[in-house]
Symmetry: C3
Subunit: 157 residues, 3 copies
């Protein structure tokens, strides 16, 4: 079995590209997690995991990196796109946190409002006391083919 | 490399939520696999893996858990949604089993009929003798925003 | 954490099936990676990873295998579908390569042209010197329900 991660990094990026996948690839590079192999998961923050700046760790090039992310792209010039992540931190540090993702063809302010409420709902359903919500998000106005990406990367220290 | 799992648990859950992702998150909790980081994979039951009740194991909170799953959600009130998993167990225990997933906007009976036939087809194509099919599934009639989830969780004992 | 893979295998397959998932499952078997648990990732070739023929390694049955893949299916008789992968190998072997995926309802020649250009773009954006592009792809004319699959499987030697 794979060891449970003990740190998390909130990152975001946006970029243009000639194809949807290139725009996404470029957004990953802007977010500081390009050149890794991202493995998407459903989206819990392990108990006691410590928030860490992505610049303070070195992800192995081509390494297998678990993460939760929001992403959206568009090829409609002028359109706004936005992606955001919210992490709910529990009062009790022995309990896990919850990561929520949301993205839409709109401005970031709306997307962040929704994703925060999603975390509140997730804690309500669990009857778990919520200490704090951390968010990261990004918006982008499409030129030709744009992508936004916001993530909670899980890793080890 | 990651060790090949040696047990599997069949689980299912359904729930309402204020968003599609919240409904899915709640369905995971109902299924007993909430508060973990689910990593979706294409869908083989390792040779000799033993069926285990999810209540008899403890998944690490926030741990990285491989699984195969079916899921569907809907925001159309009154609509039925259903998800099912079928696991084909081979006659020869040194061979792998096959896990199939199916989901649709309909009742569970239909979805289970399809997913069982998918396993039969998968064994036919492999020319592998099929001993038994195990299924798990769930249906739900949508109130406002509902989700169903059925899975084969792979883990270690 | 999971060890970073050090080999990669380029594989492809196409098949018919009675459902979309069965056609995909059969295409995996044709590609030589059926009977494993494929875990899809975003798509970097680790530095120094060595190309290896899938026939020269033994993937564990039911094992958890990281890979990048393109896939497309169709249930429209006569329609052509095609999937291709391209791997860009850098001049500097200490740098990672980039894997791009593309698929469409068309012939392979077009899909391969696009996916190669995607690799060129990815190296341009990184300002990384490109030594060589390797591709693998497959096309298929649908009878009833067909699927194509092309992948870079990452593994260990």
């Amino acid at each position: 079995m794979v060891k449970t991660p003990n740190i998390y990094c909130l990152v975001s990026g946006a970029a243009e590209g000639n194809t949807r996948l290139n725009a996404f690839d470029n957004a990953l590079l802007e977010a500081g997690v390009g050149d890794t192999n991202l493995m998407r998961m459903s989206s819990i923050c392990p108990p006691g995991a410590v928030e860490t700046n992505i610049k303070d760790i070195t992800l192995p090039k081509g390494g297998l990196i678990p993460l939760a992310y929001a992403t959206i792209d568009s090829q409609t010039p002028q359109m706004w796109i936005a992606s955001a992540i919210a992490v709910g931190i529990p009062e009790d540090p022995s309990e896990p946190g919850v990561i929520m993702e949301f993205e839409d063809h709109t401005r970031l302010e709306y997307v962040e409002t929704i994703v925060k409420q999603m975390v509140v709902d997730a804690f309500d359903y669990r009857k778990r006391a919520l200490k704090e919500i951390k968010t990261v998000g990004i918006e982008h106005q499409v030129k030709k083919c744009g992508s936004t990406f916001a993530a909670a990367v899980l890793w080890y220290k």
